[in-house]
């Protein structure tokens, strides 16, 4: 399975479990920021390119994308058992803790100060997510068509408020066609 992969670090199952446990617990408002930080920047288990690949694949699949990142990263590094280790890390402990905690505090869900804290955290989380996207775009900064497509996606969802599926399924074919054309021209 590891044919064609550039990074060949042997990652232990325990490390995978812990990595996605962290992604899960730190992942306020979506674990994507942390998934990339831990697997690409800190661990160097997965290349920038491979991470973008995995995320593209997960965007087109139903379900929670970050769980998908865990499954695919685990599968990439250690096959089926790796996928199970990563997904378990992401789910088991955070689910148990979060569920018990949640059932206990359901009575306090209306506290204003709690809501204010959450809003502050969300504001920061939004900024982190934007920065993660910009970082992922950096390797492609010399490809004009990539910048244009990314800008259209941002504009379509962030500003024109089109539904995700509309943007995904209208922009993707165009972008693929442009890539095919560029590829044909290069050969």
């Amino acid at each position: 399975m590891e044919d064609g992969r550039q990074s060949v670090t042997r990652v232990t199952l325990g490390a995978l479990f812990i990595a996605f446990l962290k992604v899960s617990l730190l992942g306020f408002g979506g674990g994507l920021v942390w998934a990339r930080r831990i697997t690409v920047e800190q661990g160097r288990w997965i290349s920038e390119e491979e991470f973008a690949d995995i995320l593209s694949l997960c965007q087109f699949m139903p379900g929670p994308n970050v769980v998908g990142i865990a499954v695919c990263a685990g599968a990439m590094l250690r096959g089926l058992i790796g996928a199970i280790a990563a997904a378990s890390g992401f789910l088991l402990i955070p689910w148990t803790v979060g569920f018990s905690l949640g059932v206990m505090v359901l009575h306090y869900a209306h506290l204003v100060v709690l809501q204010n804290i959450l809003r502050g955290v969300s504001s920061v989380a939004a900024g982190l997510l934007i920065a993660t996207g910009i970082r992922m775009l950096m390797p492609h900064r010399h490809h004009l068509q990539a910048i244009v497509v990314a800008a259209l996606a941002v504009g379509g969802i962030g500003f024109a408020k089109l539904p995700l599926l509309v943007v995904l399924f209208s922009l993707a074919p165009v972008s693929i066609a442009v890539a095919a054309f560029t590829n044909a021209k290069a050969q």
Binding site: S56, V67, A83, G102, V154, I157
Partner: protein, 177 residues
């Protein structure tokens, strides 16, 4: 409906919805609400909204947690576990199968083209979801400034993002945002 058929109905519904939740689980939330509040009357709208807010507040697998609260309300702990499994099980199998397929065909030249085409879309969607989150959370210019500051600090420094999240929570808790 007796207990068993209730939990089977809920689990089957969640498994179906998680299998078609293209663009992440929030896209099918309206359908879950209709099913558990309007169709079956298992909980009130307020319960449903509280579960949503709470799941957002707890770090971890938010939507899976939210569905667990829904299952818990319907049928206690077994309901919570069944709902969690139904929410992440089917997508996990699909993710794994799709990844294997994708990996096997890695050398194909069409895959390189596909990849080159898809990555900019994906990256654009990441930035877009950041702006959508910001729009929901940032009610005033102070909050917008916090979002921008977090973005810039993340790009230009090696500051731990956790510190930034804590700082955001403190500013919010003090009523400054």
């Amino acid at each position: 409906m007796n207990g068993h058929s209730i939990i089977i109905a809920l689990t089957a519904r969640l498994a179906l919805l998680s299998s078609i939740s293209f663009g992440a689980f929030p896209t099918v939330l309206p359908d879950v609400r209709t099913f558990v509040v309007t169709t079956h009357g298992w909980m009130t709208n307020q319960d449903f909204a509280d579960f949503f807010a709470l799941a957002q507040a707890i770090p971890g697998p938010n939507m899976i947690l939210m569905m667990s609260f829904v299952g818990w309300k319907v049928w206690g702990i077994p309901g919570a576990i069944a709902s969690a499994l139904a929410t992440f099980g089917p997508p996990c199998v699909m993710y794994f199968t799709a990844y294997r397929l994708w990996d096997r065909l890695r050398a194909a030249s069409w895959q390189r083209i596909l990849r080159a085409g898809l990555v900019p879309v994906t990256v654009g969607l990441v930035i877009a979801s950041g702006t959508v989150m910001a729009r929901a959370a940032d009610v005033g210019w102070q909050a917008v400034a916090v979002t921008l500051a977090a973005s810039v600090l993340m790009l230009l420094t090696r500051l731990n993002p956790l510190l930034m999240l804590v700082a955001g929570g403190v500013l919010g808790g003090l009523g400054l945002l």
